[in-house]
Amino acid sequence: MNLRWSFPPYPVGFVSRDTLKEYIRGNDPISGAPLMDEIFFALTQPLTKEEKHPRMVKRPQRPRLVEPDTEENLHRLFLENGWTDGLPIILPTEERVAEMLTGTDHKPDEVVGMMSVTTHEERLQYTVERVAVNAVMAGARPEHLPVLLALGASGRPSLPSSTTSFASMMVVNGPVRDEIGMNYGLGALSPINYANSVIGRAWTLMSINLGDMRPGATFTATTGTTINYNNMCCAENEEASVWEPFHVRKGFKKNESVVSLFRGWNVMTMGLGPSQRMLEVMRSMGGPFGGAFTFLCDPLAAKSLKAEGYDDPAKLSEWLVNELNPRFKRPDAVNFIVVGGETNPMWVTTDFSYFQSSPIDPWIPKAGIKKDPKPLRMPVPVMCKDGSCGIGH
């Protein structure tokens, strides 16, 4: 990278002035050289030939196949190489990957995009086949592949490296939700739905393997977050929502299938009450960067907010931002998604920013979503309304 760097000791934040003085008078802990000498060197030492004429690094092509081995040894290899999330995977055999590739009409060697979990580090390029490999590993089926390719096309990792430990969220809109059996109702964020589980997991496996995630080197999250396992993968409950679907508010047509991506840190569940209460929670969560928020509203909460006068969530965003901090007037920094099974008029507050929406339809086969003869589906939540479930009140 064509910059010159020096490193003071860490941390720099929340230490005394005397400590900072010591840092400046002391050594770069990486090189061991005096920090100020390094800075003067960086500003005055003539550029090297390489710095004057930077060239693209040529990398050898990675092999398509891993050296053959036993199933047991390969599971160990994937785990010990850091190619998984630590949970068991499905080994991506040629047969399984070939089957996964039936989930799209795109050619296996088509380049989907590039990704890096660290913004200034080298990005990895990946094809349709490499996305399919990671889809197999996550336990996905061909019907899920178009969503995963849309995630890949975004170039956005679910594990963006930051010492502050980023979390990500992905929300699917449009007809594909029902085609692949995603959950947007009761327990949409719970581990009770096959599609939500494997798609969310696959995004993280893609980020590890296609985004060059190496803990301590390219990935620096100090505590990390368990949200990284599944990325709050869900769909929007468009049918029960009193508002226009999220993707329509972002400029897509209602019949388009889209995956929208968010990133932040904190998730606070069990929000109850009117918009005034939302404002109070936002004030309590507001971060150092002015504040971005995405609310996950149960359909009942959305109805209540509409009854307050917010027939368009944009109006609610406008009001909240004005009340929170008119100086940073960015209504687009406050977003609303409708998710849930209408068992409680609650909302979940996140400090997540909305980044982008990636179209899914271009990755769906012309013949439609490739479903198994009998698609894998977990039990659909059934509300017990007559006492037959045996729970007495």
Binding site: N2, V12, V66, R123
Partner: protein
């Protein structure tokens, strides 16, 4: 799938290293263009250009060095202490302290233009 010790073949899950480290399409691209498929869809190594580093100075005596706080925690205090170090130890070097107005994640073309116009060198810090 065989569990009797028979060898099987699986595919490599890792992406292909591109050799692209934070390069941009051109100097006027927004800093995050390299990460933005809208600004740079399906880019390839051949389409990218490097930004050139500025020539180095012979020395800093009598020069104006901008000290820029990028906005991470402790950056303001660190840059102020750096400024104090220059004043105490290298008084012949003139320093100008600046703080990014929004955040470490945003571009500030006006600040870069000011540094180009008035400054001889710049030190940006500190990463978080």
């Amino acid at each position: 799938m065989s569990k009797d010790g028979k060898k099987i073949t699986v595919l490599d899950p890792i992406g292909q290293p591109s050799g692209i480290f934070g390069s941009r399409l051109n100097p006027d691209s927004v800093p995050w263009a390299i990460h933005d498929p809208v600004n740079q869809p399906r880019d390839t190594a051949e389409k990218l250009e490097h930004l050139n580093m500025a020539p180095r100075l012979d020395n800093l005596e009598g020069k104006i060095v901008f000290l820029v706080n990028t906005g991470f925690a402790g950056g303001k205090e660190f840059i102020e202490e750096l400024d104090a170090w220059f004043k105490e130890n290298r008084p012949n070097i003139k320093t100008e302290v600046r703080h990014k107005q929004t955040s470490m994640f945003t571009d500030e073309p006006q600040l870069w233009a000011e540094i180009k116009q008035k400054g001889d060198a710049a030190i940006l810090g500190v990463g978080g």
